[in-house]
C-alpha cells in the first residue's frame, strides 16, 4: 500500500483513486449506471403490465376503479414527493456543511418514507378485507374475474417491489443519519449523501409512474 500511510493523502480517498474528484465522479457514475439497471429491472415488469393492459382493458379499469384507493394513492404520492424535497434540501445542507440541518432533514425523510410505507400497508390491509389479494385471499368472482386477478397481481408485484426499494432506502438513510449525527460529513466530503439522494429520487420517480398506471386506469 504505497499511498494509504502517506501523510498528505486525504483519509477519504480510497487507495485505487488518485484524486477526490476522480473518486467522486466514479461514485456518481456508478450510481447512475446502477439506476439504469434499475430502470430495466422495473422495465421488464412495466412491459408485462403494458401487454396485459392492452389485452385486458376492461378488467384493468374495473379493478383499478373499484379496488385501488385513489385518495390514499394521491396522499402517498404527495408524501413521497415531500421526501424527495427533503432529500434535495439535505444534499444542499450537506454541501454547505450544515450538520444540524442535515440531520433534521434526514430525520424528516425517514419519517415521510415511513409514513408512505404505513399508508401502503393500510391499503394492503383494506384490500385483504375486500378479498382482492391474488392467491392469499381472492374472493372476487364478478365480471372479468380473471382480469381483475391479473391486475391485482401486477399491482402487488409492482408496489411490493417498490416498497422493497423504499425499505432498503430507509435502512441506508438511517445509516446516513447516524453518520451525519456523528459528524462524518463536511462541505468537503458528502458524496455518500449525494449518491444516496440519487437512489431515493429514483425510487420516487418509479412511484410517479406507478401512481397513474395503477390507480388511475381509465
Amino acid at each position: 500500500m504505497p499511498h494509504s500511510n502517506h501523510p498528505t493523502r486525504n483519509p477519504h480517498l480510497a487507495e485505487q483513486f488518485e484524486t477526490l474528484a476522480q473518486q467522486r465522479e466514479a461514485g456518481t457514475l456508478g450510481m447512475w449506471i446502477f439506476l439504469a439497471t434499475e430502470v430495466m429491472f422495473f422495465g421488464g415488469l412495466f412491459t408485462a403490465y403494458a401487454v396485459y393492459r392492452h389485452r385486458m382493458p376492461q378488467g384493468f379499469q374495473l379493478a383499478s376503479g373499484e379496488y385501488l384507493k385513489e385518495t390514499w394513492g394521491s396522499i402517498n404520492t404527495a408524501v413521497l414527493l415531500g421526501s424527495s424535497l427533503s432529500v434535495a434540501l439535505a444534499v444542499h445542507a450537506a454541501q454547505h456543511g450544515m450538520r444540524k440541518l442535515l440531520v433534521w432533514l434526514l430525520a424528516i425523510t425517514l419519517l415521510l418514507g415511513g409514513a408512505f410505507l404505513l399508508i401502503k400497508a393500510h391499503e394492503y390491509q383494506l384490500e385483504y378485507h375486500e378479498g382482492v389479494i391474488p392467491t392469499l385471499r381472492f374472493t372476487y368472482d364478478g365480471p372479468h374475474a380473471n382480469e381483475v386477478f391479473v391486475f391485482m397481481s401486477f399491482y402487488f408485484t409492482l408496489t411490493g417491489l417498490h416498497a422493497l426499494h423504499m425499505l432498503i432506502g430507509l435502512a441506508l438513510w438511517l445509516v446516513m443519519l447516524i453518520r451525519a449525527w456523528r459528524g462524518h460529513f463536511s462541505a468537503a466530503y458528502y458524496a455518500p449523501i449525494e449518491i444516496m439522494g440519487l437512489y431515493w429520487h429514483f425510487v420516487d420517480i418509479i412511484w410517479i409512474f406507478l401512481f397513474p398506471l395503477l390507480y388511475l386506469v381509465r
Binding site: 500500500m1 504505497p2 499511498h3 502517506h6 498528505t8 493523502r9 486525504n10 480517498l13 480510497a14 487507495e15 485505487q16 483513486f17 488518485e18 484524486t19 476522480q22 465522479e25 466514479a26 457514475l29 456508478g30 449506471i33 446502477f34 439504469a36 439497471t37 434499475e38 430495466m40 429491472f41 422495473f42 422495465g43 421488464g44 415488469l45 412491459t47 408485462a48 401487454v51 396485459y52 389485452r55 385486458m56 391474488p134 392467491t135 392469499l136 380473471n146 382480469e147 386477478f149 391479473v150 397481481s153 401486477f154 408485484t157
Partner: protein, 545 residues
Amino acid sequence: MSKVIDYASALPPLPAPDYLHDGTGLRSWLLTVDHKRIAVLYMISLTFFFMVGGIAALLIRLQLLSPNSTLMEAETYNRMFTTHGVIMVFFFLVPSIPAVIGNFIVPLQVGARDMAFPRINLLSWYLYVIGGLITLYAIISGGVDTGWTFYTPYSSLYANSKVVPTVIGIFISGFSSILTGLNFVVTIHTMRAPGLTWGRLPLMLWSLYATSIIFILGTPVIAITLALVGVERVFHLGIFDPKMGGDPVLFQHLFWFYSHPAVYIMILPSMGVVSDIIACFSRKRIFGYGFVAASSIAIAVLSFLVWGHHMFVAGESVYSAMIFSFLSFFVAIPSAIKVFNWTATLYRGSISFETPMLYALGFIGLFTMGGLTGLMLATLAVDVHVHDTYFIIAHFHYIMVGGAVMGYLGAIHYWWPKITGKMYPDIWGRVSAFIIFIGFNLTFFPQFILGYLGMPRRYYTYPEEFQMLNVFSTAGASILGVGYLMPLVYLLWSLKYGKPAGPNPWGATTLEWKVSSPPPKHNFASIPLVTEEAYDYTKEPTNAA
C-alpha cells in the same frame, strides 16, 4: 494531490511483494479486495462449474449413443440437459472471460491500481458463488427439468422439479454480472492512465466495455423475468397462465430480450482476447483498429434488437418475425468486419504459433462456421425447418464452444504467465489445442446434419436412422473431454515446476506486461504515462527476463 513514490525506478528487488504472496491463508483470500485475487477466486470456481457442466454433457452424449438407451430415464435426461445448459451458460460462459480475465487485466490494462469499486467486486464474487451454490442445491436435491430457457407455462405451472431455487440462484448470480459490468464501465471511464485515450485502448477493453453495456442493461430484465416465474409458481399471479388469459409467449419476449444479447456477452470478450492475441503473435497492429473497436459497440447495441429470431414459430406475429429476421442480419455485419480484419492483420505479419495463437486461429475458423450457420437461422423459411433441432445445438456449440470457450482457453494460456508468473510447457499446450479442435469438430459437425434431417433437441430417445451420426458425436465428445483435461493437468503442473515467466514473455505491448509477473499488489507503483498508440509492435521486445 499526493506525491507519488516511484517504486519502479527504485533499485530491484521490488519492495512490494507480488499479489500472490501478499498475505497467505484462507482469510487473506476470502476477504481480499484485490482485483487479481478476486480473478483467481473466479477462475477456481468457474473451473469447478465447467466440470459440472462438462460431466453433464458427457452423460448426455453417452445416453445418445444408442437410440433407445437405458442409461437414463426421460426424467433424468431432462434434468441433465437443463443442468448442462444452466450451468454452462449462467455459471460458466457468461462470467468466464469478464470475471476471470477481465477482473485480472482491466485495471492493469487501464493503468490503475484496482477497480473503481474493489469491495463491490468482491461482493460480486460472493453473489456468484451463493447463486451457484443455490443452483447446485436445486440440481442435487431433485433437479430442474425445464431446459435452460424456462419456457412458461411449463416452468411456471407444470414442471415438477426445483424451479424456484434454480431461478433464485440465477437471479442472485445475475447481480454478480451487473456489478461486474458496472465496475468495468466506471473503471474504464474514470481510471484510465494519463495518455491512454479511447483510441489507444486495447481492443480487449473495448469488447469488455461493450460486454458491460449488455450486462448492465440486459441482465436486470432476465432477473425480473425469472423472478416472475418463481413468484408465479409460488403465489400464482396468473401472468403467464393461459387459463387466466395470460400469454405464455410474453415470457419468451422477456427471456430473449436478455438471452439473445447474452450470447454476445459470451462472444464479445473472446473477440477481444483474439484481437489482443493476434496482434501479439503476428507482431502487428490490428488491421482497421477503429473498425474492430466500433464493431464491438455496434454488436452490443444491435444485439438488443433481434431477440424475436428465437420465436419465429412460437406464435409471434408474422410481421414481427419479419422485422426481427431483418434486424438479425445486421448484427452479423460487425462480426464479419472483425473476422476480416483479423485475417488482414496476419497479412505481412511475423507470425508465431504458441498455444494462445493456435486457440485464436481456431476461434476464427469455428466462429465463422458458427456465425454463418446463424445466418441460416436468421433466415425465416430455413429456421422454420431447423428450429429446435440439433442444427440449433450445432450452431451454438460452434460459437460457444468452438468460439467462446476457445477464446477463454486462449486467454488463460495467454495471461497464465502474468497471473501465476510461471510458464507452462508450450508443446503440451499445442497438442491439447489440436486435440480440442479435432474433438470439437467431430462432436458438433454431425449435429448440423442431424438437425437438418429433423432430429429434435431435448430428446432422450430418437429414431434409429439417426444413430450413426450420434455415435460420431459421442466419440468426438470423448476426445474433447480428454482435450479439456490436459490443460488442467499441465497448468497445475506449471504452478510448481514451470519456468519463471518474466514480465513479458510474449513481447506484448499492453500495460499489464509492463509490470512484473505476478504483478505487485497495487499493480503500479506510479501511474504510468501512455505515449504509444495501441499495439505498437515496431519496438524491440521488452522481456528482459
